[in-house]
């Protein structure tokens, strides 16, 4: 069982609000990721980090930003939420072992912007 936690699980907010989605893991993994997923669809990588003070944009362009000040914490921020940001956001972490790169996922945050 992976120890990776996301809060809140559900969030409904109005347009223009600033929000931060929290993600924490207790496994000591160096690598962390944020994915965006529409219901029943594939996961799109929006941000990733390979360690403290290291962040990169993923394959899908996103207006969100991330920070990695501590190994265990990888929050995602939207400065001004819009209805187009409505989606599910999944956080994951991994630690490479030999040639394996298993990512462990949190339960996700389902965001609705009105």
């Amino acid at each position: 069982e992976a120890d990776i936690y996301q809060t809140p699980r559900y969030l409904v907010i109005g347009t223009g609000k600033k929000i931060t989605l929290e993600c924490s893991q207790t496994m000591g993994h160096d690598k962390m990721y944020w994915y965006q997923q529409d219901p029943g669809m594939e996961l799109h990588l929006i941000h990733y980090s390979y360690g403290v003070n290291s962040t990169e944009k993923g394959d899908l362009s996103s207006e969100s930003t991330v920070s990695r000040i501590r190994t265990e914490h990888f929050p995602l921020t939207l400065e001004s939420a819009r209805p187009s940001h409505t989606s599910q956001y999944l956080c994951a972490s991994s630690e490479r072992w030999e040639t394996k790169n298993i990512q462990y996922f949190g339960a996700g945050t389902r965001l609705s912007v009105l």
């Binding site: 996301q6 690598k31 990721y33 994915y35 029943g40 669809m41 594939e42 996961l43 990588l45 990733y48 390979y50 990169e56 993923g58 394959d59 999944l90 994951a92 490479r96 040639t99 394996k100 790169n101 298993i102 990512q103 462990y104 996922f105 949190g106 339960a107 996700g108």
Partner: protein
Amino acid sequence: GESVGLHLPTLSVQEGDNSIINCAYSNSASDYFIWYKQESGKGPQFIIDIRSNMDKRQGQRVTVLLNKTVKHLSLQIAATQPGDSAVYFCAESTVSNFGNEKLTFGTGTRLTIIP
């Protein structure tokens, strides 16, 4: 660009029967593949993985087959149970421009087990 896609978006199987979920990938350089299971309201959960130097790997009730010639991956679930109902994703591991691995996920197949 590279992509990982699934042949069928939905699959219904009678409880107790075996199921096969297929996945096609396009990057012949991918060397590692994972199957994930995602239940409603939850994040994806690791099921089984396989390296490109293998063509078959078995777990508990699950088997993954890899055919590198046609770039095809499949997940076989034996004696399906109601708890197997979920969306299944395949993912391939590719090396990014920064020399680090990342996963590319397919669209997903929704498996429904009929009681």
